[in-house]
């Protein structure tokens, strides 16, 4: 009956549908002030904490302690707080849909679960990467200023930290998206994300078993540190990236499996 000549098409190609779904995710994100605000807050908090940590490094250094560290890495160290904002935002991108009931409309418009999950993943990974890079670039300036000679850095430090933070936040977003798909509610997704990135590393430290300590090295936050600092022990940035990627794929895969099998 179409008077508009919007063609019905039964055979859509995956890439075309994926691009369309990703654009829709972008529009939904921009339309929610709360989500945009979370990313902005994460970046602002990191800038403030970076400046504070720089000042602290200078005070310690002036008092004879050896706390000098390249400014971009000082910023990266504050990410343990800043990451919470980005994790919450990533969780909300999916759990919002469950709390408001829009998941039904979303799945009507994009019934192929693989396309929906991939679209959300592409969007969140892109925003996470950009947030990480922008955050390091912006926060390094006040941090370097407050740390003075104790925060001297090379361009390679800056690039490594920026790239590391970007990749970490991109992959963290995917992990949290997976948790959101598993939990289907904001509180559950955010709490489990905090447990994964803050709780687990501290809890596991208390268990004096060798293999537990070994495993702790492979938790996402530790892998992120090894990746951004260019460490060589216990493993280098390449392995660190693979570890983060594995975490993302496992959690996202579990989330996708749940979405496909359970009624919406």
């Amino acid at each position: 009956m179409s008077t508009l000549k919007i063609n019905e098409s039964k055979e859509g190609n995956f890439a075309g549908s994926l691009l369309a779904a990703t654009r829709a995710e972008t529009t939904k994100f921009i339309g929610l002030r709360a989500l945009v605000g979370l990313y902005a807050s994460g970046i602002l908090v990191t800038i403030a904490l970076g400046w504070l940590l720089g000042a602290s490094a200078k005070a310690s250094g002036d008092n004879g302690f050896d706390t000098a560290m390249p400014a971009p890495l000082l910023v990266f160290a504050t990410l343990q707080f800043g990451q919470l904002f980005f994790a919450a935002a990533a969780a909300l991108q999916i759990t919002n849909e469950y709390s408001s009931g829009t998941i039904a409309t979303t799945l009507q418009s994009v019934p192929r679960r693989a396309i929906l999950v991939t679209a959300k993943a592409i969007f969140l990974a892109t925003v996470g990467f950009l947030a990480g890079v922008v955050m390091i670039l912006l926060a390094t300036i006040p941090t370097a200023l407050s740390a003075e000679q104790y925060g001297v850095f090379e361009l390679s430090d800056l690039l490594s930290a920026a790239f590391g933070a970007g990749v970490y936040l991109a992959l963290l977003s995917l992990m949290v998206l997976g948790l959101g798909l598993l939990c289907r509610n904001s509180a559950g997704a955010i709490v489990s994300a905090i447990m994964l990135i803050v709780g687990l590393p501290q809890i596991l430290q208390l268990i004096p078993l060798r293999w537990v300590q070994e495993f702790t090295q492979y938790l996402p936050t530790n892998a992120a540190t090894f990746m951004a600092t260019g460490a060589s022990e216990p493993y280098g940035p390449g392995v660190a990236f693979m570890v983060l990627l594995a975490w993302s794929l496992v959690l996202l895969g579990a989330g996708y499996f749940t979405l496909s099998r359970r009624d919406a």
Partner: protein, 308 residues
């Protein structure tokens, strides 16, 4: 065209929909009637691929919903009372939907105009009344100018003008060749607009037929007779081909015989009458009768709390 083939759905031990097989054809409005909890929403959710059937399948224009690349261009649906995220504006909500199905974004404005929500296009959905939410949901359903429209209880929360409007909308699209599938738990809401009715109760098909046929079949004249010689009169009427049932010691209900003939037969037989009257059966009464046995949560069971 929507095809349901032996569709069934279990929620745990409860069978919500059982062996439902019907065709919902193009060019007409099909009403989907049943009491609350009869399985109407579950059926619609299965058509839209939101719930997976336990067995059987549903097809839209011959294919499963999930096989449609850009489903909003084929099927428009509004299945819950609310639409969109409370923090979004109608414009954002519809724009994202349009983008997801490669529908020109200008359709968002057109659809808002079609449902009369242009003036609140940039207001947050969270502040909407139920009636406005219904209209927004219908705007979303109309976005891709789909041939098939699936509406779950669309008249809930609409005022009289809104109900007239939605009836007209369904009529117009059906006349233009659309397939319109609309659910309700109130016969009076759909009786006027539906060409065809599907009645379900406890997840099972009770009956399906053109609305006119159902009305004809069930609105035969029902005649009440009061007489001190009920048994004698009943025998007499039965001999002459009427259907008779006793509803009290001196009271009979008669179907299939005109009032005048009953009076004449009683007169000839010398039987005294105290009352002879016609009760016009309405489709509403019929529906209530048909579904009465299938209401899961009736007043008696829940201590007088009615769930309509």
């Amino acid at each position: 065209m929507i095809t349901l083939e032996a569709l069934a759905k279990d929620f745990g031990a409860t069978r919500a929909v059982n062996n439902l097989s019907v065709d919902i054809t193009a060019g007409m409005v099909t009403g989907f009637l049943g009491p609350n909890g009869a399985g109407k929403s579950t059926t619609m959710r299965m058509i839209l691929g939101l719930d997976t059937p336990t067995s059987g399948q549903s097809l839209v224009n011959g294919v499963p919903y999930a096989k449609l690349a850009y489903p909003l261009r084929t099927v428009g649906a509004h299945i819950s009372g609310t639409a969109g995220h409370p923090g979004h504006t109608p414009r954002t909500f519809l724009k994202a939907l349009a983008q997801s199905n490669r529908i020109p974004v200008r359709r968002a404005e057109e659809a808002l105009a079609e449902v009369g929500l242009q003036s609140v296009a940039t207001k947050r959905i969270g502040g909407f009344s139920l009636g406005m939410s219904q209209r927004l949901g219908i705007a979303a359903a109309l976005l891709g100018d789909p041939q098939i429209l699936i509406l779950d209880e669309p008249m809930n929360g609409l005022d009289a003008e809104g109900i007239t409007w939605i009836r007209q909308l369904m009529r117009t699209r059906a006349d233009a060749g659309g397939t319109i599938f609309v659910s309700s738990h109130l016969m009076s809401e759909v009786q006027q607009v539906a060409d065809h009715l599907i009645l379900i109760g406890r997840g099972e098909l009770i009956t399906e037929a053109p609305t006119q046929d159902l009305i004809k079949e069930f609105t035969q004249q029902l005649i009440t007779v009061r007489t001190p010689r009920a048994t004698a009169l009943a025998g007499l009427l039965l001999q002459h081909g009427a259907k008779v049932s006793t509803t009290g010691e001196d009271r009979l209900e008669v179907i299939g015989m005109p009032l005048e003939r009953i009076g004449a037969l009683a007169f000839d037989g010398g039987i005294e009458l105290h009352e002879l009257s016609i009760i016009q059966g309405s489709l509403e009464n019929v529906y209530n009768q048909l579904t009465h046995d299938t209401v899961d949560y009736s007043a008696e069971l829940t201590g007088g709390v009615s769930t309509k």
